[in-house]
């Protein structure tokens, strides 16, 4: 929904910070609607708060207004990111209209000739970068685009234009000894500020693009793309770890809200005494201590074959996290055959060592490299058949791609029957399930299958896992 152009105040009157201008309320409501459409939960209470805040901060201070609105409307880091993007997008036009009003002369001047001394501009920008002043950088980014960017309307690709302008300005992080000593670029500029300047350039170029094409960038579904699990190679391992660290903390507290005070053998003397006062000191009602939550026994099978390479790094780190959270956990990795790795996880506290040890000792890597689910089930059954009981939970991490081999769903059914609960985490989007050699449908009949390629989905799974056995599914 493009923001409608409200009656805008002519110009901010100095000293008249009494309250927001009349048009602003409508704008804020429209903005809140936009946020809602991106999945940020905003209630009337939040809106009222937002208006209360706008009454307190000078509405002409862009930063203050933004922070104030963010504090009332965006109540998590996730929401905050959406907020930032939308705020830019939404208040774009208003800002842009004003910029045109004021900058008409400036831009006209550049188009007419080179009134701006390019060398002076370079110097100014470099000085602003060295001092790291935000406001100056933004203004100068505009000037830089006016000076260097308009030749032939740019390449059409914003990233390319940004780099071209940066090179034209000679902004580098490395020292440039060939420059005269008074030049701020001589010793190299701080890398972060150069990056920040690039951000400004990018934003301004986007602004220009929007002005030219007269439309806002399509609102891409941020939430899905940005929350997707990192699927690249080891470079993303740190990102995986951050997610897992959070998961670990969640797991540690998970299930506690389900802890109640049900009938239990231990009498809580203190609370019984207090309750006894209602009956004049006679303990008529006994109070019991809360019951400790039972940690489930978990069996995890993790596919580490090549078809799930990117996911298995992630899965292994999840497995690692699970080991910290659950005491009774046995883990297995498999490709063609199965191999128990519980010991490795217990011995090694460091994930890097774990993955190295699994590659080295687990003995799964030296066979064909193609998953054989049928064989995996039969080996798993022989190994743990006697230990499986209705309170146990079996979790399979894999894509259910059998490479054309017999899925042996009957064996899997036997596993699922002996265990209390069976979950399947599939790193492929549901769209691809049962295409090609994927036989997840055969297994899904016997277990709860989850697609698991974003952190949100992983969280859903964790919630399901922490739900006590016998509780209704959501």
């Amino acid at each position: 929904m493009p923001p409608s152009e409200p009656e805008r105040p002519a110009a901010p009157e100095p000293g008249a910070g009494a309250g927001p201008p009349p048009g602003l309320s409508g704008q804020i409501l429209a903005f809140a609607d936009e946020l809602r459409s991106e999945g940020v939960a905003i209630g009337t209470a939040e809106l009222l708060d937002a208006f209360a805040v706008l009454g307190e901060v000078p509405w002409t201070e862009r930063e203050d207004v933004r922070e104030g609105l963010a504090a009332t409307l965006a109540k998590s880091q996730e929401d905050r990111r959406v907020f930032e993007l939308l705020f830019e997008r939404f208040f774009f036009r208003a800002a842009e209209a004003e910029a045109i009003e004021r900058d008409v002369q400036e831009q006209g001047g550049v188009d007419g000739g080179d009134q701006i001394n390019l060398d002076t501009l370079r110097q100014q920008i470099a000085a602003a970068l060295r001092d790291g002043s935000e406001g100056a950088m933004r203004d100068l980014a505009r000037l830089a685009i006016a000076a260097f960017g308009r030749q032939g309307e740019g390449s059409g690709v914003i990233g390319v234009d940004v780099q071209r302008i940066r090179r034209a300005l000679g902004l580098r992080a490395e020292p440039q000894p060939e420059l005269p000593p008074e030049d701020p670029r001589r010793e190299g500029l701080p890398r972060e500020t150069v990056r920040a300047f690039e951000q400004h350039l990018r934003r301004e170029l986007e602004r220009a693009l929007i002005e030219r094409t007269r439309q806002l960038p399509p609102s891409r579904p941020l939430s899905e793309l940005d929350r997707a699990l990192p699927s690249g190679p080891l470079a993303d391992l740190a990102a995986v770890h951050r997610i897992v660290a959070q998961l670990k903390r969640r797991l540690a507290t998970q299930g506690h809200e389900l802890r109640g005070r049900r009938a239990h053998a231990h009498v809580d003397v203190r609370r019984t005494m207090r309750a006894s006062l209602e009956t004049g000191g006679v303990p008529v009602k006994l109070k019991y201590r809360p019951r400790r939550p039972r940690r489930p026994e978990i069996y995890v099978l993790c596919d580490v074959s090549t078809s799930v390479t990117s996911a298995s790094v992630f899965f292994l780190s999840v497995l690692h996290a699970l080991h910290d959270a659950f005491r009774k956990l046995r883990s297995f990795v498999f490709i063609e055959r199965i191999s128990e790795v519980t010991d490795i996880f217990e011995r090694e506290r460091n994930f890097k060592n774990v993955s190295a040890a699994i590659g080295r000792d687990a003995g799964v890597a030296d066979i064909s490299g193609y998953t054989d689910y049928g064989r995996v089930w039969s080996e798993f059954l022989t190994q743990v058949e006697d230990d499986l009981h209705p309170r146990a939970t079996v979790i399979v991490l894999g894509d259910a791609r059998t490479n054309g081999r017999d899925p042996r769903a009957d064996l899997f059914a036997a596993v699922a029957e002996r265990a209390g609960r069976t979950f399947w985490l599939n790193p492929e989007p549901r769209l691809y399930w049962n295409y090609g050699d994927s036989v997840i449908a055969a297994y899904e009949r016997h277990c709860d299958a989850f697609e698991c390629w974003t952190t949100n989905q992983l969280e859903d799974f964790v919630k399901a896992l922490a739900r006590p056995i016998g509780a209704p599914a959501s």
């Binding site: 504090a71 009332t72 998590s76 903390r249 507290t253 802890r259 207090r274 006062l277 506290r349």
Partner: protein
Amino acid sequence: MPVMPVQAESVQHVAEGLRDVGYLPGESTALVSFLAAKLGKPVLVEGPAGVGKTELAKALSRFLERRLVRLQCYEGLDEAKALYEWNYRKQLLRIQASSVAGAEDAHGWDAVQDDIFSAEFLLERPLMTAIASEEPVVLLIDEIDKTDQEFEAMLLELLSDFQLSIPELGRIDARTVPVVILTSNNSRELTEALKRRCLYLWLDYPELEHELEIVRLHTPELTETVARKLVEVIQRVRQLDLKKPPSIAESIDWARALLLLGADDIDADTFRDTMSIIVKHRTDLDTVAERVGVELGGLTDASFGAGAPRGA
């Protein structure tokens, strides 16, 4: 106790006030603190451990010259420890005393019952203290994410209306509106209802310059160059994949340690010796020694080269 507590007048005023009591707020921190004091809304502060969430509440209490009432949350915290509790020992004594005197005493059971559920037998816990205080206070509810959801639900009445309901006594309204700060390490998702009642502030590790300022504020004796290098190293360490990245508190500790040791530069040796101040896990120690220690060893020459003209 001052007669007139300090009022927050503007964002600038709050920022300067916090600065004066030894807390360097970021822009949004100052703004949200100002709004909290002005609008009387609770603030939910989230962020990684050690970025100064709790410290913010302490600084606010110093700046506003209000008493700090702190409720440390933990698993299994219940209303008896957070709100109020009947002093049942005293109540028992009262009952026994009245039954001894009962023969000639005309007061019957009704009188005793009225009596033992009065303010005299009430043990105030932090939340109650904050509400009932004559002077406005700063209420810090620390690590709210450690409690269970029922406790959060119980807080709602307090946070939105600043009142408490005690079945035997009725409703207790706040005499003064406290500034409420809730902190969370984000270990679980807080309920929407709670978030709805709060302003939200996300505190993150500060930018290099900001952190440098903080370190300088706490250890003004440390030379500028060492402080800068220290902060640079800390920022570098935070980028590594660690179990527990160093917090601001740890950079300050490290700065103090360096000051005590009289170090005038952070070279590979100093770093190796004092590393344990900022890194607290054995595996992290290895990672940091491997990555940053080596870098520092190589860096010392280069940084001397680059540092010389800057100093001249």
